[in-house]
Point group: C2
Chain length 404, copies 2
């Protein structure tokens, strides 16, 4: 995150009925909990807390407006620190100029990022910078990186987590093979979930042999088996690194910017579908079919966005992409200019079939459908099924961004 | 909401990588969109917008601190208005003193509440007062109150919505019976979901006869059939009113305060369970069994809270109730003082069975387990299985609330 701007000041405010107790949202109490990290105190801070969260920032700007934004960042951290006060988590700010030496020693690289230190590991947070998301993220980081599956009910919970990348291993107990698995899990916490079982009947249900590890790609029915057993930490890590970009991946607040930055040749295939809406659900099921059919295509990764998860972005997307997000949509987005092309589903009573979607995706991957064709203002558009929204959007974008 | 205090100023702030486009959170642009409603303009405002959102507030306080809180409320509305700018939703403030006449004409009653006017109806919002929640709520209100189920995939989506109160009716088409159903749906939008089908095979799958309406209580496997058919609007409304307090109900940001205020004799049975966590999932399944066994007991309504939905409240609950919310918990909470008693599950490897839970719930309903017994500092506690947290909590609470 090199060119950072603070794009939103979203104020949450809670009205509370004092007559009833039990739902009191915390009010920032004004106590300063976020440390100013420097050469003298960083080692102590690392030692003192189970987790240490450091925000690596540019020098405090002279400009008043930017100063205000900086204070807002601090306030998000302060409220997070207050809420998590009894959890043994430290918070600090590291100035990229004043504290350059400390930053180097700690390995902080991207200005504007938040780094979480746990034991001897560093976890970078690249999600929505809000107290809600941060609190949830940090509580996840506090938990054990490997979760045990001991009974049939827990197994069912595991099987229901189809949106997550999950690994599960069967081990005899807390032996060296399990510890290798555990070590590997630490590198991916909390983004990739690791599970283990020591129970023979659980393993049987999962068709897991002793010391075997399975990798579940999101939305796939069958797991991949990691080659070889027992596996070393390195072997597990390498496998996960190679397979972590899923054919269908859900955009999540906790790592949304990381996901968005991981584009394929500057574009994303983006699908909007509200899971709670019957149409959205139907479309998502079709998407899953397409993803399952194409899981071995490394060129294909569809970003699924559930508008319900991002209420503040919904109308921005509608404006930028000129879409109606009450209905499911799929399109190609150029991430450098947000130029986009969307599959026209407006004339049909029914959603496209999996086959129709696959044809369209093939056209995208082959370049027949792309965001650039109409930029040259030609009329020889090959595919009449495409709506192009970029030209109108540029004006809208400008209007929209003018107050940044 | 008579005694209102603004309990949280939660600042959201977005860091954004400018190199990549497509995820830009809105920044409040400083334009004033929230109207000052008065006798001269309220009729025009009602006419002009599809939806009109009015915040009914106490006179602007003289106290500077309270003024700031008031400005924060305004800011939440302003950001919401900005985000929804192209949706034809109006926003306004009504002063309970200055605009008393208007308030009376509009039927505004509870100071501190937000009222949404749609056609000739008024919908009261009693949830988390944040832009996220408000935007989502208003987008839901904009949609048609009856959603059509046309095919098997949509039916599957309908069947998956086990957390919601849902009604579904089978009609010939848009006839008077369907319209009665539609009229009834408007009174409960968006809190209670109404579906309809005109398709014979869908109706057959749902065992619905022509003009019949089924009521699905959350987490129940079988629906209740509304007596009589065809049904009048009134008959549907009355049935929903009588059955809307479910045996197991999930706390949601959009109406959390309403749910909390709907206690049974001043107490709530509260269950904390993280659905995404294997233990939490297991506990929730047990709870559902208990709810299904006791669905006809009007005395029983368990409030299920998924801590994942309320990251900012999690540690507050841990402090107030002295709990570890990494694990599932169930207890009784007195809503007037947040005094509480929790079922001790710490010694067991396994979670309680449905039978054990039912025994405990019976003890709660009969008063054998209650939040008051230990307040008299007696040692003759009947049930050793109970942890009482109230006395220690009072101090903690005071400490916690001291900055309010």
């Amino acid at each position: 995150m090199q060119h950072i701007c603070l794009a939103l000041l979203c104020l949450h405010l809670l009205l509370l009925c004092k007559a009833e107790e039990g739902l009191e949202f915390p009010n920032f109490d004004g106590n300063d909990r976020v440390l100013d990290i420097n050469e003298r105190n960083y080692k102590k801070a690392l030692k003192r807390f189970d987790l240490l969260c450091l925000f690596y920032h540019e020098p405090i700007p002279a400009n008043k407006g930017l100063q205000k934004r900086f204070q807002m960042t601090e306030l998000v951290l302060e409220l997070t620190a207050q809420v998590l006060e009894n959890k043994d988590i430290g918070f600090g700010m590291v100035d990229s100029l004043k504290d350059a030496k400390v930053a180097k020693k700690l390995g902080l690289e991207e200005v504007g990022s938040l780094y979480v230190f746990k034991d001897n590991r560093v976890i970078e947070f690249d999600g929505e910078f809000s107290s809600d998301t941060l609190v949830e993220f940090l509580l996840d980081v506090l938990e054990d990186p490997v979760e045990m599956i001991n009974n049939a009910m827990e197994l069912r919970a595991f099987e229901r987590m189809e949106e997550d990348i999950r690994l599960i291993g069967y081990f005899k107990g807390e032996d060296s093979h399990f510890r290798a698995f555990q070590k590997a899990s630490e590198l991916f916490q909390p983004y990739i979930k690791f599970f283990a079982t020591f129970d023979k009947s659980m393993a049987k249900h999962l068709s897991l042999k002793m010391n075997e590890v399975n990798f579940y790609e999101p939305f796939m029915e069958e797991p991949a088996i990691l080659p070889g057993r027992p596996l070393s930490e390195m072997e597990i890590v390498e496998f996960v690194k190679q397979h972590r970009r899923a054919t269908l991946r859900k955009l999540r607040a906790e790592n949304m910017f990381e996901t968005w930055e991981d584009d394929l040749d500057g574009i994303h295939i983006v699908a909007f579908a509200e899971e709670e809406d019957p149409d959205g659900y139907e479309f998502l099921e079709i998407l899953k079919d397409v993803a399952r059919d194409n899981t071995n295509n490394p060129e294909l990764s569809i970003v699924w966005i559930d508008p319900d998860d991002f209420p503040l972005l919904t109308t921005y997307w509608e404006k930028t992409f000129k879409l109606d997000l009450f209905k499911p949509q799929i399109g190609v987005v150029n991430v450098t200019d947000a130029d986009s092309v969307w599959l026209d589903m407006s004339n049909d009573e029914d959603l496209p079939t999996a086959e129709e979607l696959e044809d369209w995706i093939e056209d995208v991957l082959s370049g027949r459908v792309n965001t650039e064709d109409d930029d040259e203002a030609t009329n020889d558009q090959e595919d009449a099924d495409i709506t192009e929204n970029s030209s109108e959007n540029e004006e809208l974008d400008e209007e929209y961004d003018s107050d940044d």
